[in-house]
Point group: C2
Chain length 332, copies 2
DNA sequence: GTGAAAGCGCTAACAC
DNA sequence: GTGTTAGCGCTTTCAC
């Protein structure tokens, strides 16, 4: 059977606590080297592994972190998870990765599950309409919650500079001479959608140019397609810009169906994540888009959440990492 | 502070074990209803939540399952994770999702981590060259390990019928009249690559047709591109078939660079997962491919792993779920 | 139908 | 420098 710390201790002729000290490197320096050696040998011989549940119970710490995203099959969130997880594991935390599948009820269930698992912190990309009460069930129990990518008033967040980057995109589009531009935004309850729309509008307001049309999509391919078709059939536009790439793909598809060449007849642009798609360079036509430093966003969120343990102020601060840039492609 | 089971018991005027019985629905029937009511009320009033670590320590069970895949950012594996996780959570298991990033050393590290976490089972999609010793460290400790998607001799596995589906693809290609066909396979140490090549070869052998060329790629876009360019510059072919879609995208790209129209000048086909890509229908040209029931594969793997607890035979059986089919698209 | 008592495996005071 | 002791919070015999 599985060896316990007592058996290791007996075999080494010491007390269990001495073994524990070796294990946790406590007073490793002022300990007789030969004692340490004997203990290490016993551990090896008995193939001893501590029981995590016992450690967690005794230490009153789990070193567990929750990561809850709206869609694990979305490359953007998968990269975010990677960023978070790499920092967490570096610091000795186990990540509990959860996928709400864009469903607020699942989101609430996973939040409760993370509470039950005694996660010490949760990095949450909310589905949209927030589950404030579910989140508060955690914060009430001193589980630190940090939002990532999407902001909700009242909670700390690490997010990209969507507004600034979108404004830059707007200036870029205007700089190319486009004047009859339609914009397809995302869900009103998602901050990234609002920020991107806002930033884009900033650029146009500053230039004194008005949008030809603004539609609202759901960040999906289909919604982008539908919105674009509606626009293209009603208005004469020279460019359509979508709040994310998935919708921009829908725009490209609609343009094709309407017999419009890109970028010959109209310009198309998106936002976020296509540069990460391994076969992005194969897409025809390629897409003008904005790169979001999603990996770094995840790493920074994890760092801040973990730092929040020592310094609660860290948790209250909103951070905007730089690094966003426009990738210029063929659809300009 | 956080309430313990003792406090709940005291408040309800019962012993802790009675509370425990209610919590775990043990002898819920032959228990005085009013006692139960009082206990439930105390639980609510004190907002009591059991400490998982204590339960796990006492019960000597973690109800934790490891899921280790080579690449969480790959849609195919993300869907696999979803399938596994849904079954696991249905049955009250917590999933520990890990990403080896195609790195055998990371893979070994995560396997050891899962052992340390006392996972009761692990569903593993190996990186390729297997880490038999790392896996045996688990099985030696009675952690059930089940491979998914990729086979390694000596271990139970749940996989798709790659050979059969690939043979069907081969027959399909032959049926369309193609006779000068080149094949781009995957890494030799990955069973899916070998099975797909084998099945495709079966079809050609049966028809008495020989491949014009066989190249070996790494299942990546670039390797597909390189292999295809090499083939197209050297041989006169009327079709190129790749062992997965990512490489097939590379083939399409190479064909474009060589000035070959698809499917006018040459046919191109891939294998697995494109039908799942939300914007797959946008890709130009669309790709002939084989659908792999990856979600069901994950679900079945989880079911079998969990069933293996009661019936170890379940673990020893190799299962091949059906449901594969050829999606006919424009590149035939 | 409910309670008393023991103990899962570990760590951290505190003692010496 | 190392050991003794207590106890983290829970479940489960075994009583009655």
């Amino acid at each position: 059977m599985r060896a316990t710390i007592r058996e290791v201790a007996e075999r080494a002729g010491v007390a269990p606590c001495t073994v524990s000290r070796v294990l946790n490197g406590h007073d490793a320096d002022h300990m007789r080297p030969e004692t340490k050696e004997r203990i290490l040998a016993s551990i090896r011989e008995l193939d001893y592994r501590p029981v995590k549940a016992a450690q967690r119970l005794r230490r009153q710490r789990t070193h567990a972190l929750g990561i809850l995203v709206p869609d694990i099959t979305n490359l953007y969130f998968a990269l975010l998870i990677r960023g978070i997880e790499s920092v967490a594991s570096e610091r000795g935390f186990t990540s509990l990765i959860c996928d709400s599948s864009h469903d607020p009820r699942r989101e609430a269930r996973y939040l409760d599950m993370l509470l039950a698992e005694d996660a010490e912190g949760v990095l949450l990309v909310p589905t949209g309409r927030v589950n404030v009460s579910a989140v508060e069930r955690l914060t009430a129990r001193d589980v630190r919650v940090m939002l990532v990518d999407r902001r909700i008033e009242g909670f700390p967040v690490v997010e990209a500079d969507n507004r600034g980057a979108s404004r830059a995109l707007g200036e870029h589009i205007l700089g190319l001479g486009y004047r009859r531009v339609a914009y397809i935004s995302g869900p009103a309850e998602v901050s990234t959608a609002e920020d991107r729309l806002g930033g884009f509008r900033d650029a146009f307001d500053a230039a004194g140019v008005r949008f030809v049309a603004v539609e609202r999509g759901a960040f999906t391919f289909e919604s982008g397609f539908d919105a674009a078709r509606k626009i293209l059939r009603k208005e004469k536009v020279d460019a359509v810009v979508a709040a994310n790439d998935l919708m921009a793909f829908g725009v490209l598809r609609a343009a094709e169906e309407e017999g419009l060449a890109v970028p010959g007849d109209i310009g198309v642009a998106g936002f976020d994540h296509v540069p990460h798609v391994p076969y992005a360079t194969f897409l025809r036509p390629e897409l003008t888009t904005v790169d979001v430093p999603v990996d770094e966003m995840g790493r920074e969120a994890a760092r801040r959440l973990l730092a929040g343990a020592d310094d609660p102020l860290k948790l209250a601060t909103r951070l905007v990492p730089g690094g966003t840039c426009i990738a210029r492609r063929r659809t300009e």
